[in-house]
Subunit: 299 residues, 4 copies
Amino acid sequence: METINDSSLAQPGDLAQLVSPNNKVFILRLASGAQLHTHRGILSHDEVIGKPWGSQVFTHKGSSYFMLQPSLSDVLRETRRNTQILYPKDIGYILVKMGIGPGVHVLEAGTGSGALTTALAWAVGPQGRVTSYEARPQFQNLALKNLERVGLAGRVELKIRDIVEGFDEKNVDALFLDVPNPYDFLAQARQALKSGGYFGTILPTTNQVSRLLAAFYQFDYAFIEVCEIIMRFYKPVPDRLRPTDRMVAHTGYLIFARPMILTRDRPPTEALLIEDGDFQDNGSFTEDLNGNTNHEEVN
Amino acid sequence: METINDSSLAQPGDLAQLVSPNNKVFILRLASGAQLHTHRGILSHDEVIGKPWGSQVFTHKGSSYFMLQPSLSDVLRETRRNTQILYPKDIGYILVKMGIGPGVHVLEAGTGSGALTTALAWAVGPQGRVTSYEARPQFQNLALKNLERVGLAGRVELKIRDIVEGFDEKNVDALFLDVPNPYDFLAQARQALKSGGYFGTILPTTNQVSRLLAAFYQFDYAFIEVCEIIMRFYKPVPDRLRPTDRMVAHTGYLIFARPMILTRDRPPTEALLIEDGDFQDNGSFTEDLNGNTNHEEVN
Amino acid sequence: METINDSSLAQPGDLAQLVSPNNKVFILRLASGAQLHTHRGILSHDEVIGKPWGSQVFTHKGSSYFMLQPSLSDVLRETRRNTQILYPKDIGYILVKMGIGPGVHVLEAGTGSGALTTALAWAVGPQGRVTSYEARPQFQNLALKNLERVGLAGRVELKIRDIVEGFDEKNVDALFLDVPNPYDFLAQARQALKSGGYFGTILPTTNQVSRLLAAFYQFDYAFIEVCEIIMRFYKPVPDRLRPTDRMVAHTGYLIFARPMILTRDRPPTEALLIEDGDFQDNGSFTEDLNGNTNHEEVN
Amino acid sequence: METINDSSLAQPGDLAQLVSPNNKVFILRLASGAQLHTHRGILSHDEVIGKPWGSQVFTHKGSSYFMLQPSLSDVLRETRRNTQILYPKDIGYILVKMGIGPGVHVLEAGTGSGALTTALAWAVGPQGRVTSYEARPQFQNLALKNLERVGLAGRVELKIRDIVEGFDEKNVDALFLDVPNPYDFLAQARQALKSGGYFGTILPTTNQVSRLLAAFYQFDYAFIEVCEIIMRFYKPVPDRLRPTDRMVAHTGYLIFARPMILTRDRPPTEALLIEDGDFQDNGSFTEDLNGNTNHEEVN
């Protein structure tokens, strides 16, 4: 995760994922001389080190494991947690929607088990920065452990604070509130966010969503988007292709908005209620970006 | 996009997004003295420059626009295109699933209008690298323009080549094929990918998915995942919360797999057919990463 | 619809559906000597009468139409309406869930354009009965016309009444409220429904659903089910099978409940909140229905 | 189910559903003097008989059950089965789409456990008729038991036959094939169906759907519709309204078509490929059904 290892061979210090044929998964950091004890036999780290990623390795009983470099999605799946954590389907959209990429400074509260923190730290890269607030010290400890495991703790500042007291930071690019009552912190969020920056949250119930939407208007947030992302997996059998029998029906409603500066009186709610939802297939981009020619407006 | 502007004020050279109250969108690069001619009047760039992001600005007729910094999602929405392009919902998951983050080297074919190329270049950051192949020169030109507009062309190498001839690169972290017949290029993809690396593609029809799944087995790809991501937007009205009336029903099936090295004979297909789908809430992570203690396997 | 015509040939008085190759649809009742004037030429009813259903018939200009007997779904699609009407996906589930079949007496309010009334009248058959209340006379007139067109008016009693005054009927099997504020009429519904009978409604917003759920507890309704039915169509092309590009995202939340008689004190809300949702694959049915043997409970 | 009992009181011979507070369900036929032995005590049928439906009844240990009349949906849920059975969401749409209501004659193959047979027999009423074919005698026996339990066996004719030999019936209104290879029986289905009648089937995999679609063209079926119905349940808690965590992701693809009589040469496949999918909100119905005035075509 943290360091891109250009080598195609596993090396001491690398994060490795071992997967059995029946899809049992270990994620561990390789160390010469160490051993992994499994129900299917002992696997020496030295059996893994030096082999090409994607190989099969074997326990002393001859049981096989595939050895892989874990992706962010793999790591999140194995995050030790005390709380409900975000799913890759939601995290991926959050990153793209909120512009959380290399070099960005992003705020988060609460830290929880640190799964989203991990994803944010991964996405902002070595030039970016994540500041994460948590009111409960025991969660911060868990999150720190999880971040250290994947080598991303260095990009993250963890703070213990009830965010009702506000954030220390100003002018951040994006802020994600993973708390049950985000509507109580919109003023604090505004203070920390760059105006026009990205506010995001995830909420499990429709009642919370309604309450947050009402609060947005009091604090001049606009470009509100409410959505849910539903993921359906298929059984990967070529001649019997079909969805899996069951699926996750709900993780949460994703809500995004941007704090604005209003300079003239306007009918307050409707004007700000720009439904920023559907991805229009409008196929246009202003042609000459610096020119003075007439432009057609894009719908 | 390309440079994180820490200032909260719009400056010449910044990429700006202007949005009218009825959600008409312009994306343009600010230049002192330039003008934007709209149906609602002329907007001087100098009216925008120096104002805080998130402000309202006004045309000579008094019509207002919100001024914002565009996110990746905003830019993709406005990409000039000749082809079907990927949606943020799909792109976000692709990035997280395939581990495409800061510093990664990712291959893509074909380039098309460059929408995914833009997203990849954004995600890998200044230390990363994107190499994108396209057989049709006119698409490459369009993609180059689109990349230059958002300042990301420097991270991308565009090549003109029919990929049936193979890729020049070796040992890349991830490869995404945005072509209608990915099953014809699995050998070439294998040659370019790090073993255990990430292969991804998107296909509109079930017939193509079936054909690709069958081809995976001939080339020792495993950890196959087939999924679709469905996005449903809600009307953001606090006391009348409800989904929008209509939605996008289908963009494509996402398929991911990893090329493996098989070192022992095994019943070929079933053994490799590890359904890498559902995100299990298993809550475990091997405790002492370098220790020698017994571990419970994680399902 | 109303009379099952055993003949495979179209006859005067039959309800017929004519469909052009580009899917333009007429529904009409056949009459000797009558003519249908279309943009593609005049079609004599006598060209249709006597031909087998499923044939092609031709206008005086040689344009073809397929002739078919319309199903309930076809008729609903063509219902003249002033109001949002229910979709076949929702109607089908309502009928099965609420046990609305041959011989049943079902109440409805409001009548609206009569689309659901038509479906109910069709489903209860000649031995069943539908009583439908509407406060606005102009809607009743429209509904009556729509029912007469398909020959089902004889099974339906239409009443003009604001249902806040209550229903005349008692002991009905099922009651469907197609009104925006069903929570205001739960006492009236109780009076009309057989205890243990089926109450159903459809609501567009989550706020209405929450309000209805709260009201259920005040009036001893239980076996509450809230669901939504989502329908996705596929393009029927054998070698390019895929979902259509867009779909209906939302028609409404369906809510069902049954009024109960509580004979002993019990913690009121939780006890009645039996989530009657998921269709369990439990595979059991009490073996000897009248016997005295031990039974395993079915989950 | 079979006889609508106008009484609001449970009587001997009635089909009753007993539900515990933790949602354990029994369906049984009431008989004076009989007893139901449950884990929560013995319940005398005489405790139930004479009480109003919707009441609570009690075992000798004081445990309570709600007593209800089961709907079709309730009965299907408890059908004893050896096979995958259809869900209410699918059955409801099948009935409405295929016009299976009072008085209709419908064919089915295979009978399987008789769940769909039960639904069809319920829907066609005492004047309708269901003929169901099954190749395996042991399934027929199970289906017969299931039909007798709910008092619907009298409307159903069960036949043992491999349908490759064809159906005895001609000119039926609707035919549903619940077999894995419906594409092998389209000629037989055509012989049994009224032309323009309704053919329906459900298939779990996309490969089967593709194969069926190709076969439709060889046998002049048109008005093809392929869809899937997805049902999402909500937790019925007023102030914490949200979808359930997990859901059924897939039961099967529903496919409908109608056999046509082609009287003129025409480009064969495309012309018949009328996508009969989306329920258009076209709001029109030809005004004067028997008149000679000009009509606008309905899109």
